[in-house]
């Protein structure tokens, strides 16, 4: 089976915004800490097609230990009876919300198999134990995020995504947020991604740095805690680049 065409370009975030506007099933992958979940969660509110309803985002982070019942739903005891409780997948389907599935590649086989049905597009229909068949309401959209490409997925599952997008730089909103915290920090972090990924500065580490700076810890110690052994190199680069707290 042919694999999904992957969008691999420097403007991955632009392509993601475009895909989010017009497509329903998107696979977004890239190095940890680039803001994939952040982008999937926060970009939703800007989309014209959802403005009227202002629906929320349903977020689920998958792992090998997450069972299908936690995602689809299960009966819970209430007084003397058992009542049905919708899981995040069914909640998002019923109300036409955005479902963000983090780390899809790490999910168990059973969950991945169940996702074949959830991601089936127009013919999606999930039967519940009660006999009810749930079909997605208008606006239902799925964004799956991962660190690796769809090569790690079953071909049938990866084929269900309408777009596979690779991102290699931190999300622009994260850069702006870092710049707002410490002048020039976001720009410096962004510049580090022009080099190979193993030499780039993780935005998560950069946020840790800002957190410590704001707490009054001196820049050198903040850098040591946030960046570890490379802190001296990173601080020197920050100073030369005129990053506020370091300089």
């Amino acid at each position: 089976m042919p694999s999904n065409p992957t969008v691999k370009s420097a403007d991955g975030w632009v392509m993601f915004d475009l895909a989010l506007r017009y497509l329903d099933r998107i696979y977004l992958y890239g190095a940890p800490g680039l803001g994939k979940t952040y982008a999937a969660t926060h970009s939703r509110m800007d989309q014209e097609r959802f403005v009227k309803k202002q629906r929320e985002v349903v977020n689920a982070t998958l792992s090998d230990d997450i069972v299908l019942q936690e995602l689809i739903g299960h009966y819970m005891p209430k007084g003397t009876e058992f009542v049905w409780h919708d899981g995040p997948v069914i909640t998002a389907m019923r109300s036409g919300q955005l479902l963000v599935l983090n780390e899809l590649a790490r999910a168990s086989s059973a969950v991945k198999d169940a996702m074949l049905g959830v991601l089936d597009g127009g013919s999606t229909a999930i039967p519940l134990p009660s006999g009810e068949i749930v079909v997605p309401a208008q606006g239902f959209q799925v964004v799956a995020t991962a660190n690796s490409s769809t090569d790690d997925l079953d071909p049938a599952l990866s084929d269900r995504f309408e777009a596979v997008i690779w991102v290699s730089t931190p999300h622009p909103q994260m850069i702006a947020a870092l710049d707002q915290e410490v002048k020039g920090l976001g720009t410096a972090v962004e510049a580090s991604f022009k080099d190979s990924p193993e030499r780039a500065i993780s935005p998560r580490s950069a946020f840790t740095f800002t957190k410590l700076i704001k707490a009054g810890v001196n820049p050198r110690q903040s850098a040591q805690l946030a960046f570890g052994q490379r802190s001296a190199d990173i601080v020197a680069a920050f100073k030369l680049a005129g990053v506020g707290a370091a300089a």
Binding site: A191, S192, K194, R199, A232, A236, A237, L240, A241, G242
Partner: protein, 461 residues
């Protein structure tokens, strides 16, 4: 020959440096350059390559931070390298690439100091020897001032008037370094390059003139000229090599024909020079190295040499003995001017390692010669007359890599190619040959005699 102290050669993670932030571009190819070999980056080259030590020790860090400052300068002033290259290749008053490099080092060190990167003070800088030429001492002082924030070091040997002259040039370059952005100094890249060039041109002119005078036979006609020349040079009159040659005619010690390939330095156009052509000359071995019969080393094994010791109540194992192996191997000597080798040094070396094969090399412009000076216990009495540049480090190291082990290279690590130009790819080539050829480098003959290899600087704190 010394027992070689083998140190595990482990490859280091190239994810330590962070060049993309100061350079504002990428991706970079990071190559490890052991401490003692220097470091470099070329802002004009199409590929971004950074050669730096990768350890976490103070020196390695300082070297990396120095290179970051070079990258930052290249980012803020993208046209600067082009104009500096023009100054180096200027037909009337070309600036020696070594002076240009020293000037740029002062600027980037001052940049780092201005940005409170205190670690830059740990930048390694070898102290000058008594035999170091005056212009090399001046270059050393210029760099040293940028690490001591202008304080003249105690071991400065330059006369006070020359020290003041170097200090003046340092002040100018420091000011340029501290205010390197367009916003700070209001200079465009061409003006900025011109300021650098003018400062260095004056200093170079002074030492060129002084060197020329020292090399000339002091005939009455020339003797009267010397004071005038020096005064003019000190006053910033700028006696270029071209002017000196015109004044002194055929007696000029400078070769300004520029027939060989132009010298390159790392802020050059990115075009590469290669190694020079090497010829090998085996000198007549007219002297016998003084050597004793191979010593016997007392041991618990070997020939039964001392029966009485075997009778000692507390037997110390000295009854038996093994013969030490003959002291062979190969020693390659860098005989360039930067090594400041003297006859006594080489004779001392020859007498200390009598059975080793010893060769020395040096070159000029496009070619050089390697002299086989000792072999099989015999040696050449005296030092062959040789030019003062490197040029053929690569071919000489290739030769060494094929000779009997242990292989020793005594060099300061400043390798050059044709035109005596320092090139990063040549440096990388030399490092590769040393590594693959199982060659141990020693900084000086004294370091070799003391058994202190040149790249034994600790990598980690």
């Amino acid at each position: 020959m010394q027992t070689r102290s083998r140190r595990a050669r482990k490859s280091r993670a190239t994810d330590v440096p962070i060049p993309a932030i100061p350079a504002g571009k990428g991706p970079f190819t990071v190559r490890e350059m052991p401490p003692g070999f220097g470091a470099s980056t070329n802002p004009l080259a199409t590929e971004n390559t950074l050669y730096v030590p990768l350890g976490y020790d103070k020196e390695s860090r300082a070297i990396r931070f120095h290179e970051y400052a070079h990258l930052e300068l290249g980012k803020v002033r993208p046209e600067l390298a082009k104009y500096l290259d023009k100054a180096v290749k200027d037909k009337e008053q070309p600036i020696d690439p070594q002076w240009m490099q020293a000037g740029l080092d002062v600027i980037v060190n001052s940049m780092a100091q201005a940005r409170h990167i205190e670690e830059i003070a740990d930048l390694p800088l070898d102290d000058p020897k008594p035999t170091t030429s005056e212009y090399a001492q001046a270059m050393w002082l210029l760099r040293k001032l940028s690490l001591t924030q202008g304080k003249v070091p105690r071991n400065n040997k330059l006369p006070s008037d020359e020290t003041t002259h170097v200090q003046d040039v340092y002040q100018g370059l420091q000011n340029l370094g501290e205010n390197y952005t367009h916003r700070q100094d209001k200079l465009n890249d061409e003006q900025y390059a011109n300021y650098i060039a003018q400062s260095l041109r004056n200093l170079q002119s002074f030492y060129d003139t002084k060197e020329a005078i020292s090399k000339l036979k002091m005939t009455p006609s020339i003797a009267g000229m010397t004071n005038m020349m020096l005064r003019k040079a000190l006053g910033g009159g700028g006696l270029s090599r071209v002017k000196l040659t015109k004044m002194l005619g055929a007696e000029s010690p400078f070769d300004i024909t520029h027939k060989g390939p132009a010298a390159h330095y790392r802020y050059g156009s990115g075009t590469d020079s290669g190694w020079g052509t090497m010829s090998i000359v085996t000198l007549s071995m007219d002297a016998m190295a003084r050597r004793r019969a191979p010593e016997r080393k007392p041991s618990y094994v070997g020939g039964f040499r001392n029966a009485f010791r075997a009778l000692l109540p507390a037997m110390d194992g000295r009854a038996w003995a093994i013969r030490r192996k003959k002291m062979g191997g190969t020693i390659l000597l860098d005989m360039s001017g930067s090594m400041s080798l003297e006859t006594e040094d080489i004779v001392k070396l020859l007498k200390t390692a009598p059975l080793a094969q010893i060769a020395g090399y040096s070159g000029n412009k496009t070619d050089g010669t390697m002299y086989i000076m000792a072999k099989g216990g015999r040696y050449h009495n005296g030092i062959p007359k040789h030019p003062g540049n490197n040029v053929i480090d690569g071919p000489a190291l290739h030769w060494l890599a094929k000779q009997p082990k242990p292989r020793v290279w005594i060099s300061d690590g400043q390798v050059t190619g044709t035109g005596d130009g320092m090139q990063t790819h040549l440096l990388a080539d030399a490092v590769g040959i040393v590594s693959r050829g199982d060659i141990e480098r020693y900084h000086t003959i004294d370091a070799y005699l003391l058994g202190q290899p040149g790249d034994d600087t600790p990598y980690e704190e």
